[in-house]
């Protein structure tokens, strides 16, 4: 992978102009908006920019509030041991009474926190709760996107990512024009999304994303229109 390079907002605007032979159909303000929007969207799709947060474990506590610096919780560990991700529904159905259990409960309850469940943007649950106030949880999540609010601010991008962000920004800029120009940028938009799918495999599992990008070929192989009504081998003679 190419080494990341720091780009400021002026650099990025110039590179955007290069893509239209330096005859832009936008103002600098439009370009600034589009670049930031592309960065936000990229972080939403891929979780490109990460950060971590330490939460002191509290006795008999199973719900923890995250700070707003984390956009989405993504990985949780306790004393260096990663917790498996589950859901609140699975905890309720699979472990009724889980809220009352701690690492000192004994029986089949683990002696260390084993599972975490994302509940909303700002809350996670863990099971079992620690029995005493010792240790800490490390939550690794998606950080706020490094958007560019002044011309001197910089963002660290690899060559590949730079190209992807410019693809996205160019498409977003063409939206205001609509019509043929907007349609002409659809390949750039698809390239942006394809790149996001490469970075975040979970998007590939989404039927909605696969269909939008033309990756869901199932329907092609099961046509509902003009399909043969009987297998070719069973056709009557002379037909």
């Amino acid at each position: 992978m190419a080494a990341p390079t720091l780009y400021n907002r002026v650099d990025l605007r110039l590179r955007l102009m290069d893509r239209v032979e330096s005859v832009p159909f936008w103002t600098s303000e439009d370009a600034n908006d589009a670049l930031n929007e592309a960065l936000w969207l990229w972080n939403l799709l891929t979780g490109q920019w990460r950060t971590s947060l330490t939460l002191p474990a509290i006795a008999a506590t199973w719900d923890y509030a995250l700070e707003e610096t984390l956009v989405f919780g993504a990985r949780v560990s306790y004393a260096g041991q990663p917790l498996d991700v589950t859901s609140l529904w699975e905890l309720e159905q699979g472990r009724p009474g889980w809220r009352a259990e701690t690492t000192a409960s004994g029986g089949d309850v683990p002696t260390k926190p084993l599972l975490w469940a994302p509940v909303s943007l700002l809350y996670i649950h863990v099971w079992p709760a620690v029995a005493t106030t010792t240790g800490e949880f490390l939550v690794e999540g998606v950080s706020a996107t490094p958007v560019l609010l002044t011309d001197n601010q910089t963002v660290d991008l690899t060559e590949d990512l730079l190209s992807t962000i410019l693809d996205g920004a160019l498409h977003l800029l063409a939206f205001a024009e609509g019509g043929d120009r907007f349609t002409a940028t659809m390949p750039h938009w698809m390239a942006f999304l394809q790149s996001a799918l490469t970075h975040n495999g979970q998007l590939k599992q989404s039927l909605i994303f696969r269909r939008y990008l033309g990756l869901d070929r199932g329907r092609d192989f099961r046509p509902t229109k003009g399909a043969p009504t009987m297998s070719l081998g069973a056709q009557p003679q002379g037909v």
Binding site: E29, D30, D33, N36, E37, W40, L41, N43, L44, L45, G47, E68, T69, V71, F72, G73, A74, R75, V76, P82, V85, S87, L88, W89, E92, Q93, P96, G97, R99, A100, W116, P118, V119, S120, L121, L122, Y123, G141, V142, A144, T145, V147, F175, A176, E177, G178, F182, N200, Q202, L203, S206, I208, F209, Y212
Partner: protein, 214 residues
């Protein structure tokens, strides 16, 4: 983290519509109005929260009453995330969110006789009322986790409730979809359809991310 103000969002939308950007105060073309933009934006922000359950609040615990099935939900309620019932004795458990049909199939006597609540519903009957099915014979406590309404947008610098990553990339397109999708001179069905897809993709990716990236 939210840092984008409603004015910044409205200006971005105006630029997308080819309008002079002034924080959504006026539309040069008169195809849209400032009030319309406010209404549409508020509705879409609430819809985004409702569909993704991005932010969940805990209502004041509800003390059940014997044989009473209906309980008021908070004024700012827009969706129920989940309901936990704490009985007087025994372990707390989650009530399944269901409807009358489901309850009828499980226990056709649930309306006539009280017992141990197993399910609840919020989408039938009166607005903002939670019904436990069946009504409790022995009262317990209900913990209602719900999606609260978003901050009221004013057009005077109110910060959006949704994080920045969803502000311009998702919420903006929901709003643009409504503005471009209406009948009239400002309508543009092609771009409105594109906006609707962007909205759906945004909700999908948010749902994926809320399940955890690991």
């Amino acid at each position: 983290m939210s840092s984008i103000s409603d004015q910044a969002l409205f200006s971005a939308i105006q630029r997308k519509l080819g309008e002079p950007a002034n924080g959504g105060a006026t539309f040069f073309s008169h195809h849209w109005s400032a009030d319309e933009l406010l209404r549409v934006s508020q509705d879409r922000q609430d819809a985004l929260l409702r569909e993704t359950h991005l932010q969940i609040g805990l209502a004041t615990p509800i003390d059940e009453v014997v044989d009473q099935a209906d309980y008021d939900l908070p004024d700012d309620w827009i969706a129920t995330a989940y309901v936990i019932r704490i009985p007087v004795t025994g372990r707390a458990y989650m009530l399944d969110l269901a409807d009358s049909f489901d309850a009828d199939m499980g226990d056709h006597t649930w309306q006539a006789s009280s017992g141990i609540p197993r399910t609840c519903k919020d989408g039938e009957g009166e607005t903002r009322v939670l019904t436990v099915m069946p009504a409790p014979a022995i009262p317990g406590t209900l913990l209602v986790y719900y999606v609260p309404r978003s901050a009221r947008l004013t057009g005077h610098g109110e910060v959006l409730t949704v994080p920045d990553e969803l502000g311009l990339p998702v919420l903006q397109y929901g709003i643009l979809g409504d503005l471009l999708g209406k009948l009239g001179r400002g309508g543009d069905p092609a771009r409105a359809a594109y906006c609707q897809v962007r909205w759906q993709l945004g909700i999908e990716v948010t749902s994926i991310l809320l399940k955890g990236l690991a």
